[in-house]
């Protein structure tokens, strides 16, 4: 897995990129290469020792790179139709809360309900549409947002959410790419696992949601054990998983269910 993109300053807002009108052919070729590499990586993840949280995490990180967004998140609907953030480009608590907020209002909820892509080029103009989400997102440094529904035939199972720091249009090619990545996310969520018996859609979603619960619980366990805050606890968890080539979900499960101690590192 590639190392994560670190976006901009310590406040989390990214540095702005070049004006699109000056894109030259070298940059375009480079981007194409990166797009191709993304799909290859995702395809590899799909077949090889599959872990849904890792997969969606990679997808979210790549979204951020390719679309030059600040952050991305993937939300899934549980049995009751509540949207749960399953993976995101960063696990900062503040960002995750912004996704959770969209259970009640926001572009993801709209995308989920209508099955259509929802775009806001500047949240200043959408205060009336989503009062709480718009103000919270803007306070966190975001001004633009795209939410693409994750669709399986007629059913919408969640949404892919991109947040950007600067206002301005999203290029058509970017929107097309996001939709393609959303489709890949959906396929990844529902594909057959090589080893196990075939599972229903609901069961696969359940597994994804359960993995997310374990990861959040593990954050709490580590925070208490090492007397740190939640975000630092996640860094410890992810650092351990990466150093040892382990899946995040598996380490989280060991921490929560077997009182596994990650050691002093």
């Amino acid at each position: 897995m590639s190392s994560p993109v670190v976006c901009g300053s310590s406040t989390g807002t990214p540095t702005m990129t070049d004006d699109r009108s000056t894109t030259n052919s070298a940059t375009r070729a480079d981007r194409e290469t990166r797009i191709i590499n993304t799909f290859v990586t995702l395809a590899d993840t799909l077949v090889d020792d599959y872990d849904v949280i890792e997969f969606l995490g990679v997808l979210a990180e790549r979204c951020v790179e390719l679309i030059e967004a600040a952050e991305a998140g993937i939300l899934l609907a549980d049995e009751r139709g509540n949207l749960q953030a399953i993976a995101s480009s960063s696990e900062r608590t503040r960002l995750l809360e912004l996704f959770e907020l969209q259970n009640e209002e926001g572009p993801c909820l709209d995308a989920f309900r209508t099955g259509e892509t929802v775009v806001s080029l500047d949240l200043v103009n959408d205060e009336a549409r989503w009062p709480r989400f718009a103000s919270t997102a803007r306070a966190a440094g975001f001004s633009g947002v795209v939410s693409v529904p994750l669709r399986l035939r007629r059913e919408v199972i969640g949404a892919l959410n991109l947040l950007r720091a600067g206002p301005g249009p999203f290029a058509d090619s970017d929107l097309a790419l996001v939709r393609a990545l959303a489709d890949v996310a959906t396929i990844g969520l529902l594909q057959e696992r090589a080893v196990s018996e075939s599972r229903t859609t609901a069961r696969r979603l359940q597994i994804a949601l359960s993995s997310r619960v374990l990861i959040e619980q593990a954050k709490g366990v580590l925070a208490a054990r090492h007397d740190t805050d939640i975000d630092a606890a996640f860094e410890r968890l992810r650092g351990y998983a990466r150093r040892h080539g382990l899946k995040l979900t598996d380490v989280a499960r060991a921490v929560v269910e077997n009182q596994f101690d990650l050691g002093q590192t």
Partner: protein, 240 residues
């Protein structure tokens, strides 16, 4: 089903007409859990008795008797900081211990009394009293149930009395699915599991119980735990 889970389910099913305070509901649930006829809760401060709630008129009457006579299970429970078990008020030792209270209680129709201290930070602040119209022994299970309910009652009277609203939140069985919760609840669950040396399932139940006892939402309680403003205490409990 673990003890706390079972007791939360019982509380949810009893006294839920929406008009009763949390201590009153705990009185009714305690009485049902232990299989006695009534229960009362009182705060005791320097031998001064202040009734908080009762499950019914008889329980209220017996609380009043303790208050006016200055003797009974609640005072002993606080003084000795332990459960007081009196399965038969006609027993000679009991009559010697509480000469006025035992006779008055018998006259009122009560034949057995049990007092469980309400403790906060190891300090007894009052008692949960249980009453039976007939002589009665309590099993270990009854006693352990009563100890947990007394802990919940202690939280309710100590941390929850200034809140206006009554909340079903902690009790709701629709919270059984873990993914129904926001991330902050899972964070608090993990932290509480470490602090109390229990499983995450048990930790979540304790957070729910605390939320019920203090009439707060689970989210509020969880946020306080994560911010280290609140530590859910270790309770008297071992599993069934």
């Amino acid at each position: 089903m673990g003890r706390i889970e079972r007791l939360l389910a019982l509380i949810q099913d009893t006294g839920n007409d929406g008009t009763l305070s949390v201590p009153a509901r705990l009185c009714i649930a305690s009485s049902a859990a232990v299989g006695v006829d009534g229960a009362g809760v009182a705060l005791i401060n320097a031998h001064h008795h202040s009734a908080v709630a009762a499950s019914d008129d008889l329980a209220g009457e017996v609380e009043d008797l303790q208050a006016s006579l200055g003797q009974g299970p609640c005072f002993d429970a606080v003084q000795q900081c332990r459960a007081i078990i009196a399965p038969d008020l006609t027993d000679r030792q009991v009559l010697n211990r509480w000469p006025a209270f035992a006779r008055s209680a018998l006259d009122a129709g009560v034949h057995a009394v049990f007092g469980f201290p309400l403790s906060i930070d190891g300090r007894p602040i009052g008692a949960l009293d249980l009453y039976s119209r007939t002589p009665r022994h309590l099993t270990d299970r009854h006693i352990n149930d009563a100890l947990v309910l007394a802990d919940l009652t202690a939280i309710a009277v100590h941390d929850g009395m200034d809140r206006g609203r009554i909340s079903e939140v902690g009790l709701s069985s629709s919270l059984d699915e873990p993914w129904a919760h926001r991330a902050v609840v899972h964070h608090a669950t993990g932290m509480t599991a470490v602090e109390l040396s229990v499983s995450v399932d048990e930790a979540l139940l304790r957070l729910r119980a605390y939320a019920f006892a203090t009439s707060r939402t689970l989210d509020e309680v969880a946020r306080d735990v994560v911010a280290r403003r609140l530590r859910v205490e270790h309770w008297n409990t071992d599993d069934d």
